[in-house]
């Protein structure tokens, strides 16, 4: 059951992903899809929307027979979130589909809806007996998207509501980053190799930089973005999850439970910097030329309050108080209107304790670094020094590159395919649970509160640049510079 079928995400990602799964033969033949929205559509109108989305966006070739199979199970219910009759109709449609398709009462509710509609939908599902908390032989699962609240208190409130209808192991919080192949490969890199684990600690790692940069602006998301900002939108979920996967101890197995235990442990040990003013930075993009296009500043975007203090650039330092990471700062930054779209984790190693070379020889030598590129161009880069071919002993940084696209001809599955499949299989390791979400808010809350109390405008930065001056100063205080990703 898909709530919010008219949204961008549903059309661009979810519908194509469903088709791709079907095309790869990964969906059960009796799979049904019910759309719910305030539109005066019949089943075939909705089917047309799905069809167009699939044709335009699916990654696998369009096959008529696969589509026909899918079409069998496509239904549409027209209604609003506050209308009892809509949900009664939904229940009837669901029961009919259970009969005709043989889905046997196994239902997944995908809530691709704004956070303020959440309450209503959840209580309606409960009221009309659509979701059954305890129903032997059949499952009810719910998929929710970020934001998982806007601070710790609201996240707890959300959890309270959702858990009144669904078991906590039936709640799937979608963080599409965790569905990405490269993120999962991080676990392979760390725990399937002998090479990296020995250096994965404070003895060798100097500092860690986790970056998620987008080249786009707020655009059509103004309604959602204003008042939320980069820290809540990205750092709270994606970046802190990446931090957890980078910094956690080895799980005893890859069971969801074991993996979560380790993530929770490390998130509980992580904290905001003591001096928030010095070790965080926020900015807002200004109008100008970015990537060869003239773009508007954040405050000139449609739907943004011209006095908005919402940050489009957020950078924070996170310290992890445990034996492995004590004294190793983790710098997290997320921003819009950066020079290019890139997400990466860079582990910077310490300098060699002694260098038997003259200063001139090693002028061009930086420190070693291991960079995991999450997107685009997924891969891993290792940077180290090598001698420049010449009569002199001159050493310069070189890189060794592993690119997913060239080492594996098979294209990585789209994150949403993987995640939707996991929901249907009830396999939750890639989904953060409420404890993780709450721990993330605990790290972020003091910073958000500090920023709110400042009551000042975030520092402006030119669109298409790597961010405001305060972002650079923040690292310079610790003697570091941001990588150019």
């Amino acid at each position: 059951m898909l709530f919010g079928v008219t949204g961008d995400l549903a059309r661009k990602k979810l519908m194509p992903a469903v088709y791709d799964l079907a095309n790869r033969g990964l969906l059960p033949p009796g799979f049904g899809l019910i759309g719910f929205a305030r539109r005066d559509w019949a089943d075939q109108d909705f089917a047309k929307i799905v069809h167009d989305a699939v044709k335009e966006r699916a990654r696998t070739p369009f096959r008529e027979e696969v589509w026909r199979q899918l079409l069998e199970g496509i239904r549409f219910v027209s209604g609003t979130f506050d209308n009892d009759e809509s949900f009664i109709l939904l229940k009837e449609t669901l029961d009919a589909l259970d009969d005709s398709q043989g889905t046997g009462g196994n239902h997944a509710f995908y809530l691709s809806i704004p956070p303020n509609a959440f309450d209503q939908v959840i209580s309606m599902l409960k009221k009309h007996d659509l979701a059954k908390r305890d129903n032997p032989g059949a499952w009810s699962r719910v998929v929710i998207e970020k934001p998982f609240g806007h601070d710790l208190a609201s996240a707890q409130e959300l959890e309270r509501k959702v858990s009144s209808v669904f078991h906590s192991q039936s709640v799937f919080r979608i963080d599409h980053y965790l569905g990405k192949e490269t993120v999962q490969n991080m676990l392979a890199l760390r725990f399937a190799n002998e090479l990296f684990e020995p250096i994965w600690n404070r003895n060798y790692i100097d500092h860690v930089q986790i970056t998620m940069a987008e080249d786009i602006g707020i655009g059509g998301r103004a309604g959602y973005y204003d008042g939320v900002g980069a820290a809540r939108d990205v750092i709270q979920n994606h970046l802190l999850q990446l931090l957890a996967l980078t910094a956690m101890e080895e799980p005893t197995s890859f069971d969801a439970e074991q993996l979560r235990t380790e993530k929770k442990k490390v998130l509980a040990a992580a904290r905001a910097p003591r001096d928030i003013a010095s070790h965080t930075a926020r900015g807002q993009y200004l109008g100008g030329w970015a990537g060869g296009r003239l773009v508007r500043g954040c405050l000139e975007e449609d739907g943004i309050d011209p006095a908005s203090q919402t940050e489009t650039y957020a950078a924070i330092r996170v310290d992890i108080d445990n034996r492995r990471w004590a004294g190793v700062p983790f710098y997290l930054r997320s921003a819009k209107r950066m020079p290019r779209r890139v997400t990466e984790i860079a582990l910077n190693l310490r300098k060699a304790p002694h260098l038997p070379f003259s200063y001139a020889d090693i002028e061009a030598l930086g420190s070693n670094a291991l960079v995991m590129r999450i997107q685009p161009d997924e891969g891993i880069t290792l940077r180290f020094g090598a001698k420049v071919p010449a009569t002199l002993m001159e050493i310069r940084d070189v890189t060794m590159d592993f690119a997913y696209g060239t080492s594996f001809a098979e294209s990585s599955p789209e994150a949403y395919e993987r995640l939707i499949l996991d929901v249907l299989l009830g396999d939750p390791p890639l989904f953060p649970q409420h404890e993780e979400v709450e721990l993330s808010w605990k790290i972020l809350d003091p910073i958000l509160q500090f920023w709110a109390e400042l009551d000042t405008q975030p520092e402006g930065y030119p669109s298409g640049s790597w961010g405001p001056a305060c972002g650079k100063t923040m690292l310079a205080r610790d003697g570091f510079v941001w990588r150019r990703p």
Partner: protein
């Protein structure tokens, strides 16, 4: 392969690059980015120079020129696996975008590695203040490539900022080595210096300035048409009036690629613009 991406932006170019590299199936091991800024009429020459530089170092070379179309747009052409080990991206800017070239070039810089900017022809008065120059940690100019080399080298000197290099200095290396060893082998103090060179030779001016600075004696510069470049340097010692020694400079390689290679090898240090 050569891929043309007309009327695009930084994102479009980047996507074309990633796709092309996947198709060829090679990982990138390029060590720096070189931005080459040239006039449209010198495009072919600049492209040759780019290929030469690319053979020396696997690098990403971004050749920037201005076109004449009215619309604000940039056309890109990507050369990958063509004669050179790295990549050559040639960008042609039109309309108002010619004023905002750095906005397209910045996203194309290779991650966390040095950036060199090179003006083979005429260069801005202050390379260190130029929007493209500011992206680089080393800025290479060539006074001999400008229409008035003497004025150009003087401007370079006045507007120097750390990281600026003019190829004129690199051209002088054999002369400097020769003169330094001459002074070393005749330990008597020098009273006077004479530099003779072809007209409009920036190197002779720079050499004169260097000698004046180091020896603290009057240096006279002559123009003659006896040869190309610097033809003669006379160092007159205070004591020996009769003895004189003649040294000749084996004519240094005149190919600019060698100078450029020498300079870019020097492209040291790291920075995040």
């Amino acid at each position: 392969m050569i891929i043309t991406v007309p009327d695009t932006n930084a994102t479009g170019i980047h996507m074309a690059l990633v796709k092309a590299r996947h198709n060829i199936g090679v990982a990138s091991s390029m060590v720096f980015t070189m931005i080459v800024i040239a006039d449209l009429r010198h495009f072919e020459k600049a492209m040759m120079a780019c290929k030469d530089a690319g053979r020396e170092h696997p690098s990403r070379i971004i050749l920037v020129t201005n076109g004449q179309a009215k619309a604000d747009r940039v056309d890109a052409e990507i050369r990958l696996g063509e004669e050179v080990p790295g990549e050559i991206i040639s960008l042609r800017f039109h309309g108002d975008l010619t004023e905002h070239r750095a906005s397209v070039v910045l996203p194309l810089l290779l991650p966390d590695s040095p950036v060199v900017a090179w003006w083979p022809g005429s260069a801005p008065d202050r390379p260190g203040q130029d929007p493209l120059g500011k992206l680089a940690i080393r800025r290479i100019t060539d006074a001999m490539g400008s229409s008035n080399p003497l004025a150009a080298i003087e401007r370079r000197a006045r507007n120097y900022s750390p990281g600026d290099t003019d190829l004129t200095w690199t051209r002088l290396t054999p002369w400097r080595a020769l003169l330094a060893s001459a002074v070393d082998s005749y330990p008597s103090p020098i009273s006077e210096v004479l530099v003779e060179a072809a007209p409009n030779n920036a190197a002779s001016m720079l050499l004169s300035a260097w000698l004046q600075d180091r020896l603290d004696v009057p240096v006279t510069r002559h123009e003659s048409r006896k040869g190309v470049g610097i033809t003669h340097v006379i160092l007159r010692p205070t004591t020996a009036t009769s003895a004189s020694a003649v040294r000749t400079v084996g004519w240094p390689p005149s190919r600019r690629r060698d100078y450029l290679a020498a300079r870019s090898r020097f492209a040291a240090g790291r920075s995040t613009p």
